[in-house]
């Protein structure tokens, strides 16, 4: 007798519970959130971007007096060529000789490299030149430009 009564009570309790908590179906929302999470995880790149740091001088007129440094002139590449001719101290120098030329340069001009390049020289050649200069310990690089108002 007693047992039956208790069973009835628990059944009633569970029924009440069911009525009290109308459950939301969470599954589709979780599916979508997971999908978004995976998308953002995959599309995020934490790898840094490699580049060459260039610190521009503050705005203003370039100094009129001639800065001291190694001057490399780069000519426009000839029709079929990829690289323009480079001239250092009135001599034609190629990339293989450039490093030793920089290393052996006199101390007073070694702190700065001035690149006088023509417009059509490829970006790659200038980057390579800057790369060699950095390896040779020259940390200041200047680009010669034509003053224009």
């Amino acid at each position: 007798m007693e047992q039956v009564g208790e069973n009835k009570l628990t059944m009633l309790a569970t029924k009440l519970k069911e009525r009290k908590a109308p459950k939301m179906d969470m599954a589709p929302m979780i599916d979508i959130v997971f999908l978004l999470l995976i998308f953002f995880m995959v599309s995020t790149t934490f790898a840094p971007m490699p580049g060459i740091r260039v610190q521009l001088p503050p705005p203003g007129k370039p100094s009129p007096d001639k800065p001291k440094g190694l001057i490399v002139r780069v000519a426009n590449p000839e029709a079929a060529q990829r690289e323009g001719t480079m001239i250092l101290n009135d001599e034609i120098v190629d990339f293989n000789q450039m490093f030793s030329q920089f290393i052996n340069a006199p101390e007073e001009v070694k702190n700065m490299l001035i690149i006088q390049s023509e417009r059509q020289v490829m970006h790659q050649q200038i980057i390579k030149l800057m790369d060699i200069a950095k390896q040779a310990g020259i940390d200041k690089i200047g680009f010669a430009v034509v003053a224009r108002e």
Partner: protein, 140 residues
């Protein structure tokens, strides 16, 4: 008897507690959404970056200036036809750019790269000078 009843009750709600997991997932989702920097290609496609053995590392940011081999300019997916348009853009976004990233194709003309740097120098009024990152190829 009481023991039996208890077991029955616990068998009935063997539901997993979802709430903490959902909290965690939402937190992760928000973190990745905020930290994500989208790779936006310029209208002429990603340039082939030049190679260099000395390189710095820069964090990836929005507002990359792309320069194509034939001298076309773009900031992210927006193309600029003249340097003056770029000028206007740079002045408008000056506060949002700390290091200006220039992604110039290795076959791009040096003159255009210099033009862009010249504009950046004039446009940004930082007393110590604007910092620029000339992007180079990722593989050695």
């Amino acid at each position: 008897m009481a023991l039996q009843l208890k077991r029955k009750a616990s068998e009935q709600d063997t539901e997993l507690q979802m709430a903490p997991m959902i909290d965690c997932v939402f937190l992760l989702l928000i973190f990745f959404m905020v930290s994500a920097v989208m790779r936006v290609p310029p209208p002429f496609g990603f340039p082939t970056l030049p190679e260099s053995s000395t390189k710095h590392e820069f964090p990836r940011k929005k507002f990359n200036i792309f320069i194509s081999p034939d001298g076309r300019l773009a900031v992210d997916d927006e193309e600029f036809l003249t340097l003056d348009e770029l000028d206007v853009f740079l002045s408008a976004h000056e506060n949002q750019i700390s290091t200006l990233i220039i992604k110039a194709d290795k076959r791009a003309e040096h003159g255009i790269v210099i033009d862009v740097m010249e504009r950046a120098k004039r446009r940004f009024s930082k007393p110590e000078g604007q910092e620029i990152a000339l992007a180079v190829s990722e593989d050695d």
